[in-house]
Amino acid sequence: MSALLSLRGVTKRFGGLVANRDVTFDVHEGEIVGLIGPNGAGKSTLFNCIAGYFSPDGGKVFFQGRDITGYSPEKVTHLGIARTFQIVKIFGNMTVRENIMVGAFCRTWSVSRASEEAEAWGTFVGLGGKLDYMAGELTLAEQKWLQLGRALATRPRLLLMDEVFAGLTQAEIKSAVNLIKRIKEEKGITVLIVEHVMDVVMPLSDRVIVLDNGEKIAEGKPEEVSRDERVIRAYLGEE
């Protein structure tokens, strides 16, 4: 099985600080992969390197076998990688429908087609009844669903999700987990999810990659990783 996404020795520095050092891993089609690690481990930086917001200082990023290192975010989106942000970035003065339409326009010029897609994806993420609400009026959780629906409307093969669970209630976390499973199972979209809350991401992920101080310290099935000494140490902060 060839990898959908491959990172090879990705390194990113900010001045003297090394945010990612020599990170290498693969994500295969149809997986849900959790990218975990304590705060400041370099998870978001790595996401930005994949999604085109940062250009890595070293190493390569491959998507479907194609070298996409240093591609701009919009180009990466067109190739089939979508991402959501930890802090929601929606178009607040546009309606829910219009927000998702902007995503759908990534693949079509037709306004009516984009509108249909907006309805479909809006319903999929549970906002079917609020299509004509202004996005700025939605609750935080709804804005997160909207962000997700909008990302899905760009028809990605790989979805990068940055801390979707942050700021959600237990009930909302539950529906988010369900939604992510449906994205994989019904839509066949591969998901790479950044999270620092272990107990949510572990049962959800097929495989887990652990970052600490910018380096990959473990990779494997959730139950294996959670027994790994280095991982336990990283999370408990022991020397």
Partner: protein, 287 residues
Amino acid sequence: MNPDLMQAITSGLLLGFIYSLVAVGLTLIWGVMDIVNFAHGDFLMLGMYTSYVLYTFFGIDPLFSIPVAGALLFVVGVVTYRTIIRRILDGPMLIQIFSTFGLMIFLRYVIFAVFKPDYRSIQKTLLSGTFRIFGVYVGIPELVAAAGALVTTGIIFWIMNYTKTGAAITATAENREAAQLMGIDPDRIFSLSWGIGGAAAGIAGALLANFFYIFPEVGGVFGLTAFVVVCLGGFGSIHGAFVAGILVGLVESLGGYVAPPEYKHIFVYSIFIFVLLVRPRGLFGVT
């Protein structure tokens, strides 16, 4: 109704449509990238000179110069973005102000140098004459210009609200980063906004060339009025600029009716100051 009053209202409306079109171009650029194009009025001036040159040297009626001026100023807008604006996008506000202000001076004095400061006009056009309706005199060039401005504003409104391109422009204006995530290249959108903004000014200039004096500083009057309109309508609001343009046209015309015409601008700028004081975000502006 008093025929003079009706005359004033008619003239105000006709002029207002032109103001709307000029202001729509200005507010579009403003809304998308928070940059004020001080050279906007001079884009309009270039549109007028396009008509003048085509008429004087090639005998082309100004009616047919309208699309040419629109296309030319679209290019001028794009070139302005690519050569100047792109470099100062993230610069300090003062730099942004000086750069478009500098462009304004540059364009104005290039035209001074080439065409001299003379007032020119285009005589004998396809559109000339007036007709009388309900006791009101309507100039045919003015009527056609107003209609042309209305149609052009309508087209821009349609693009902004009912096309993929418009959605991309609106999304970029709202959140550049999120727009990129949706596969939108902000650089292309900025470029396009300057093109559309320039074309709006160019078309307005070519429409005006049918009946208005053409001189190097003509952009100053229209540019300044466009600022008032944008401020009144709400920064970045297309329909706000449309409504406010008509209002300003009416105020200017009615001002010239109730007071000596040379005082008409006092009314316009009084509104400007009043809006700044009472409702700084304008009629349709979002906070």
